[in-house]
Amino acid sequence: MSNNSSGSWFIVLTLLVAMIITLLPLPDGWQAWRPSWVMLVLSFWVISIPERIGLLWAFICGLLLDVLLNTSLGVHSFSLAISIFIIQILYKRIRLFPHWKQALSIAAISCIYIVINFWLVRMTGKSQQYIPWSAIIVNGILWPWVYIILGSLSGYFKVK
């Protein structure tokens, strides 16, 4: 059993780092370019070890993001749950895609994530004027790097 689930600390560490980078200060004009780090890292783990990482992780990470970004509790867990569910359905295909096609599908899923997020944030009474479309492009560009770097690191730390 213990052999079956090694490297949990590494998964938690990557998610923590993703949350820290989400909070790094950026100039006002660049805010729309801020990528959805937590969603990218979670997607990677769902694609590489779908039997361990699933909706429960998405839900908890969403709650933590809500607290960090001071949105109503449940906003990010809702949108993360939906996007992670889509990835859970598609992970077998996404694994076999070449990197550029992976990047395109992740960008499409992150688009859903961002739009749902925007919608819920507006509904719970925060003021966000526009949908950060540019973040979707950044997510697509970042995905191959996340995939390759986390892939080799998780191989090195023997995360199963």
Binding site: L16, M19, I20, I21, L23, L24, P25, L26, D28, Q31, R34, G54, L55, L56, A58, F59, G62, L63, L64, V67, L68, L69, N70, T71, S72, L73, G74, V75, S77, F78, A81, I82, F85, Q88, L120, V121, T124, G125, K126, S127, Q128, P132
Partner: protein, 271 residues
């Protein structure tokens, strides 16, 4: 798997409704905030390191120059302060005559910014003081030049401040020149004065002070300076834009103020 999704979505929706509509979850939220507050400190580390380098890697000449500059400034402030002491005792005497027991000094605490969140959802900052230092909900926050905002969220070792230029924030003010009262509401960048009739006397350059009404903010702190007044005769209200006097986007340290009721019992740790 679909069942899991449904459970997750239902749980999130329930949380959203409870949190937004009824704010039942404030204790849960502050517990979570305490749990994740190290993340703020870590995210703030790069700028902290840069600050440290700024402070520590300077030449002796620069330090001497700075020292001289500060000494000059201290001299000027001391001179001004002498006048202030007289005025304060005058003021206290007059207030005593009028029978109003408002005190000018309360407990204060310097706090440091650990995160700025002007990003996605609001104009907010995080401070490194929390309920363990006695910070409470709705507490007023000022910097050296004016009112910054108020506390909206308290964890054990950090707290979240909504700035006065947030679109969801409004503060009661009065004009320093003629005492006209108004409500200044944030618009994301500056403040708008709400519901002033076109005939009212307000000019560009007027200083707005906090009026102390509503009992959130202490009276007499500078809040904003009027930068433009637009009179349109077919509109019932003036359009007045005022710029916050506080260094909203550059301040590194801010001051937390305690109101008068707690001041009497905390007088010992005033200085």
């Amino acid at each position: 798997m679909l069942v899991q999704l449904l459970i997750a979505l239902l749980a999130s929706s329930a949380l959203m409704v409870l949190d937004y509509r009824y704010s039942y979850l404030n204790s849960l939220r502050s517990a979570f905030s305490t749990l994740v507050s190290p993340v703020y400190y870590l995210a703030n580390m790069p700028s902290e390191v840069a600050n440290w380098a700024d402070n520590n890697i300077v030449s002796r000449g620069q330090l001497l120059e700075k020292n001289q500059e500060l000494k000059d400034q201290l001299m000027i402030l001391k001179a001004q302060n002498q006048r202030l002491i007289g005025l304060e005792s005058d003021n206290a005497r007059l207030r005593a005559l009028l029978g109003s027991g408002r005190k000018l000094r309360g407990k204060r605490l310097i706090a440091e910014l650990i995160d700025v969140n002007t990003s996605n959802y609001a104009r907010e900052i995080m401070l490194n003081k929390g309920s363990s230092d006695g910070v409470y909900l709705g507490q007023a926050v000022v910097d050296s030049d004016g009112v910054m905002g108020q506390v909206v969220n308290v964890a054990s070792y950090s707290s979240r401040i909504i700035l006065i230029n947030d679109p969801k924030h409004a503060i009661p003010v009065k004009n320093n020149r003629n005492g006209i009262r108004a409500i200044a509401r944030g618009n994301g960048l500056n403040l708008n004065l709400m519901y002033l009739p076109v005939t009212i006397d307000i000019r560009q350059g007027d200083l707005l002070l906090s009026s102390g009404l509503g009992e959130k903010f202490p009276e007499g702190f500078p809040v904003a300076k009027v930068v433009s007044v637009t009179r349109e005769n077919d509109q019932p209200y003036l359009e007045v834009i005022a710029e916050p006097t506080a260094n909203i986007s550059t301040a590194n340290h801010v001051l937390l103020l305690w109101n008068q009721t707690t001041q009497t019992q905390d007088q010992s740790d005033e200085q």
